[in-house]
């Protein structure tokens, strides 16, 4: 069905629900590149006004990508929990925004609601929300996950230690891991993006972290962010795989371009569960996403990039991940042009993921061809901290020398922890105390060359 609104004599018509969603999306370069964006600022608000009147239930009746064509649509609709949806089933998108903002809508309400929401519903409501709405509602959600520590508790902020090296050199990677641990980072995961996708390199890096985690009894988990098929091969070979990583997207076709489907994810999820390497929990998956991935894979079905991003969260949700990370500014200015667009997208992704029940973290980041700088990242980092983001990235000096982009640093995590009083995961905070790295999870202790972590490294490299 089409949607029509007349404003002071000008009539705005939108062909269908997908068009309405796309035109209602706050401006971003990726939708303009796809030819889906509103042609004027007024058209955008007209679309938002019409979208506000769309009943939430319509997203169940009118799938954006046909059920028969797309396994992500099938997953979304087959898994939809009607009972959980009941409290909001009669609301329109605009009424749903009001409902989310009520004092009475608290953490317990939102946790119970999550299985009743679909990605399209949360994407739609985000489009009529301001940045402060996205922050306020996200701050009321709480998603706790466990493997060797507890992530997502109130008052905590975890950090993925990202020690990448352009040639996967083990001593270079070990030096960055040491740097991060001595800065109190690494509770979310110690996660390496390998330079190549070879199983041999994967195993070498995995064993490096595994040895460290066992030797120093670090309550954290490891991950090498290679393709899921590489993880499967290494699990078959008996390598110490903690978390299985995969980049995922919001359509079957885009996932196919990543060389995956739901069956493959299910197979790897089961293989990782069977290893039983988690000591206090069994959330074994780590997913990364990012607006624009479907368009870049020529698999967007005429749907805007933010709605497609939310659909990727339905894929993630199926596998009870420990961590989901929206790598918000990595894809470049053709999808998110500047700091303003990156900040908005980061808040949308965090909000949508949390509302759907996911342990959202955010790679607050940008590339050097985007109109953005580290001050924009400070802004998004702060906003996400206020919104209750589960974790951020910790890259030495915010400079990833392998992936050639800028993210957030170990120092940035101390800034955020100080201004908001946030602490690491409790098990990790206790370890930092025991190792005399940080007191109270907040303040770093002056380190010496004789420190138990530092001395062996210095001796080995002397």
């Amino acid at each position: 069905m089409s949607y029509r609104l007349t404003l002071a004599g000008a009539t705005h018509t939108f062909r269908d629900l997908a068009t309405l969603l796309a035109k209602a999306t706050p401006r971003r370069s990726g939708d303009e590149l796809a030819g889906l964006a509103a042609a004027s600022a007024e058209e955008r608000v007209a679309a938002q006004m019409l979208l506000a009147d769309v009943p939430l239930a319509r997203f169940l009746e009118d799938p954006l990508v046909p059920y028969e064509e797309d396994e992500v649509t099938r997953l979304i609709l087959d898994r939809h929990d009607r009972a959980a949806f009941a409290p909001v089933s009669s609301l329109s998108v605009g009424e749903f925004r009001n409902w989310l903002l009520r004092y009475e809508t608290d953490t317990a309400t939102l946790t119970a609601l999550a299985p009743g929401l679909t990605p399209e519903m949360v994407a739609a409501v985000s489009k009529v929300m301001s940045n402060q709405d996205l922050i306020l509602v996200a701050s009321k959600t709480r998603v706790v996950t466990k493997f060797r520590n507890t992530l997502g508790l109130p008052g905590t902020l975890a950090v993925r230690l990202q020690p990448n090296h352009p040639t996967d050199d083990p001593s270079g990677i070990a030096a960055s891991i040491l740097d991060g641990l001595m800065y109190g980072c690494g509770d979310a995961v110690i996660g390496i993006n390998p330079a190549t996708d070879s199983p041999a390199a994967y195993a070498t890096l995995l064993r490096l972290i595994d040895r460290l985690v066992r030797e120093y009894e670090i309550p954290t988990q490891s991950c090498v962010l290679a393709h899921v098929t590489t993880a499967l091969r290494c699990m078959e070979a008996g390598e110490p795989v903690d978390l299985v990583f995969q980049s995922i997207a919001g359509t079957e076709a885009a996932n196919k371009s990543f060389g995956i489907d739901l069956a493959l994810l299910r197979e790897s999820h089961e293989a990782a569960l069977a290893l039983k390497r988690g000591t206090i929990g069994d959330n074994v998956m780590y997913f990364e996403t990012g607006q624009g991935s479907c368009l870049s894979a020529h698999a967007h079905h005429g749907i805007d990039q933010q709605t497609l991003e939310a659909r990727a969260y339905a894929v993630a949700r199926e596998f009870r991940p420990l961590l989901v990370n929206t790598v918000v500014g990595f894809i470049g200015p053709e999808y998110l042009y500047d700091g303003k667009q990156i900040i908005r997208a980061g808040l949308e992704d965090h909000f949508c993921g949390k509302l759907l029940g996911l342990p959202m973290g955010c790679d607050v980041c940008y590339t050097n061809h985007a109109e953005a700088d580290q001050d924009d990242m400070d802004t998004l980092l702060t906003l996400l901290g206020v919104a209750g983001c589960n974790y951020i990235m910790g890259v030495p000096g915010a400079d990833d020398i392998m992936l050639n982009y800028q993210s957030t640093s170990f120092h940035d995590s101390h800034y955020l922890r100080q201004v908001l009083g946030l602490k690491p995961a409790p098990e990790f905070a206790a370890w930092l105390e025991k190792m005399q790295i940080a007191r109270d999870g907040l303040r770093l202790t002056p380190a010496t060359a004789q420190h138990a972590l530092v001395a062996p490294h210095l001796a080995a490299s002397a």
Partner: protein, 256 residues
């Protein structure tokens, strides 16, 4: 300010480790070093590219050089519209088509572009070509004129390769700069180039710059890979880089 006692580990990685701290924050010097690196990267991305000037210097390599433009009209449009960077401007298409019609079918067409780093194109392409062209000449490759293309993405090599009916197209273009490697050039080649090829059909050499893969090493490696591609009649994932390692210290004497 607190120093980190593991500063000696900076020998094993170029990552920004052991920066020290003031409270939990970055010391002033490290903060400004970072800003300088970002400023250089931005300048490399944004500085205007003068294809005629580069063409003039490449003509000194004793080759015919043609200048072309992608459909992206300026740098801002180029950054936001990768699709425009993948096809030729109408006038350039006409120019190249006319010239190609006067020439026999060629084995290889080489294209140089600013891509995402004007600095890389201006500093690395000439030394790479100065080393590569004699190797190609010695092994008897019929070459199309050199093309200097402004505002190109990798896939522009497909359209240009098609116009020159080339067996292989090779593009040298500025890579997206990281901090500290704003001058990095990439080399991509495609066997049987034609509009619609994908990245899976290409081979790539990355990080060509003095501190990475040196222009001379890159030229040797490219010559090897291009020869293999021509011999096997393919490129992309099926063509493996099993050339003797040229980057390791033990093999440096191999470099002419």
């Amino acid at each position: 300010m607190q120093l980190d006692p593991w500063q000696s580990l900076r020998r094993v990685t170029s990552a920004r480790i052991a920066l020290g701290r003031s409270g939990g924050s970055l010391p002033t010097r490290a903060q400004l070093d970072f800003r300088l690196a970002h400023a250089r990267a931005r300048d490399a991305v944004l500085s205007p590219f003068d294809p005629d000037a580069l063409a003039a210097s490449l003509r000194l390599l004793d080759r015919e050089v043609l200048v072309a433009e992608s459909a992206a009209r300026d740098r801002a449009e180029f950054l936001q519209r990768p699709d425009l960077g993948r096809r030729l401007a109408h006038t350039s298409r006409t120019l190249l088509t006319d010239r190609a019609s006067q020439l026999p079918r060629c084995e290889l067409v080489i294209i140089v572009s600013d891509g995402l780093s004007t600095l890389a194109a201006n500093t690395q392409s000439e030394p790479v070509l100065a080393a590569l062209l004699p190797l190609l000449h010695a092994s008897g490759w019929p070459l199309a004129p050199l093309i200097v293309a402004r505002h190109a993405r990798v896939a522009l090599q497909d359209e240009i390769g098609e116009i020159f009916r080339a067996q292989i197209s090779l593009m040298l273009l500025g890579e997206r700069p990281g901090l500290g490697n704003a001058d990095s050039l990439g080399a991509y080649f495609t066997f049987a180039p034609a509009i619609g090829r994908t990245d899976a059909d290409r081979n790539c050499l990355s990080n060509i710059r003095p501190g990475g893969l040196s222009p001379a090493e890159a030229a040797h490696k490219l010559h090897y890979l291009l020869t293999q591609s021509r011999r096997l009649g393919l490129s992309g994932v099926a063509l493996k880089d099993d050339a003797p390692a040229l980057g390791s210290p033990s093999s440096t004497p191999l470099i002419g």
